[in-house]
């Protein structure tokens, strides 16, 4: 058995689960803030096996889901321009904007939208289409932002004049702070996102324990990673000594990845940013620095962040804060299904509503 498969070894997981069942004697509401964790907890069956005392809450960990209504309206406006080609990760295609529009419907209306696997692929689209401006939609957390920053640097090296990024990247720690500052969220502990942490390291989370006395564990995505993180959390709560524990040391250095952070810092600067459901959070987003203004789609003439009303009836905002379970939303599995999604949490495969729907464990 190789070292990776061992992290889902049934015998080992069962033994950890038994220990967790024995030790989790007080109520624990934990939140994960990473779409990959959401999917893993459902897909592995862990959610249905957890002790009755432990409640899994899925938070604002899906970048597509937290992209604000105004940001969606902004890129849909841009997609209408004849001289623009939108390049995007596939996740954004069906995210609904005002009046039921999405990139998918924009495409049907004649917009040019190219799905790319990597932002680098968007550079090739730009090189092949010199008469148009290729706009890559920069959505994602700290895992993704360095890749987009490196792509902007490459665009400059390649002297590409028709490549720009619409930068809606967001930062995880400010969102955690906003959740804890809200007295209604009742979060006892966090499981922290493994690949965001691979970039930022452990230090940016210190405030969770220091100021809010909430224990948290950086962990990976296999069942063993998640079970061991929960055991660690239970132990910290018993000892009354909350801390930030890095349990994903095979990938995450406590200091993160300083090279990736340097690239990100060279190209982007933090600003206050809008999150769906969470509103305007201080220092929670990234914009392109003046030095790279020529690659900033936000600086194209006429591009604005329009006011956009929340989607009618959609409770994604409450779901993203963990205040409402997806199946408590009146639209869930009625007006809102993966085939007919009303809000982004049902669109994205990493969204809490989509995961609930797919696995339907609590219905």
């Amino acid at each position: 058995m190789n070292s990776f498969d061992a992290f889902k070894d049934p015998k080992l997981c069962r033994a950890l689960l038994d220990r967790l069942l024995a030790e989790a004697d007080q109520p624990l509401r934990f939140m994960e803030v990473c779409g990959t964790h959401t999917v893993s907890i459902f897909q592995s069956g862990l959610r249905s096996l957890l002790p009755a005392t432990i409640t899994h809450v899925t938070g604002p960990g899906c970048p597509v889901c937290v992209t604000h209504e105004s940001e969606v309206a902004c890129f849909l406006e841009l997609a209408k321009r004849d001289d623009v080609i939108i390049a995007t990760f596939g996740d954004l295609m069906r995210v609904p904007g005002p009046k039921g529009k999405s990139l998918k419907t924009a495409q049907a209306d004649g917009a040019r939208v190219e799905i790319v696997y990597s932002p680098i692929d968007a550079l090739a689209v730009a090189a092949a289409n010199p008469g148009r401006t290729v706009v890559f939609l920069g959505v994602g957390f700290e895992t993704t932002a360095p890749a987009v920053a490196a792509t902007i640097r490459l665009a400059r090296e390649q002297n590409l004049k028709n490549f720009r990024v619409l930068c809606f990247h967001k930062l995880v720690p400010p969102a955690l702070e906003a959740l804890l500052a809200d007295p209604e969220t009742n979060i006892d502990a966090f499981i922290l996102p493994g690949h965001v942490s691979a970039i930022i390291g452990a230090a940016p989370y210190a405030f969770l324990a220091d100021r809010y006395h909430v224990p948290s564990v950086i962990t990976g995505f296999e069942p063993l990673d998640i079970l061991s993180a929960l055991l660690e959390i239970v132990a910290m709560r018993k000892s009354g000594q909350p801390a930030v524990v890095n349990a994903y040391t095979r990938v995450v250095a406590d200091s993160g990845n300083p090279v990736a952070r340097a690239v990100m810092d060279e190209v982007f600067v933090p600003v206050d940013a809008l999150w769906r459901g969470l509103g305007l959070l201080p220092g929670s987003g990234l914009v392109i620095r003046e030095a790279f203004a020529d690659f900033d789609a936000m600086r194209l003439p006429g591009v604005t962040l329009p006011d956009a009303p929340p989607l009618a009836g959609c409770r994604c905002g409450e779901v993203l804060k963990g205040k409402m379970a997806p199946n408590e939303c009146p639209l869930f599995d009625k007006a809102c299904t993966p085939a007919t999604p009303v809000g982004p949490c049902m669109v994205s495969t990493e969204g809490g509503c989509a995961a609930f729907y797919k696995y339907k464990l609590d219905l």
Binding site: D121, F141, L224
Partner: protein, 75 residues
């Protein structure tokens, strides 16, 4: 979206590496990695970039600690 996959480095050419997992090969950029990988290393790949070298010894050590802690035989 932060999905990232461990892939094995099979060739390195300056800032680009060929990586492979389960018969699938891709090219990834090495601009962001903080420790240069060697052939045979596993790197964590996200959106066409290698973002970290995976420490296999550390992975084995973690498993071993669990097995010992839980009184299980080594697998």
């Amino acid at each position: 979206m932060c999905l990232a996959v461990p892939m094995e480095v099979i060739a390195i050419n300056d800032k680009i590496a060929d990586v492979e997992i389960g018969g699938v090969t891709r090219q990834v950029r090495l601009d962001l990695i903080d420790a240069a990988p060697a052939l045979g290393d596993f790197v964590i790949v996200h959106a066409g970039f290698a973002i970290r070298r995976m420490d296999r010894d550390d992975a084995m050590e973690t498993i071993k600690l669990f097995q010992e802690g839980l009184g299980l035989e080594l697998i």
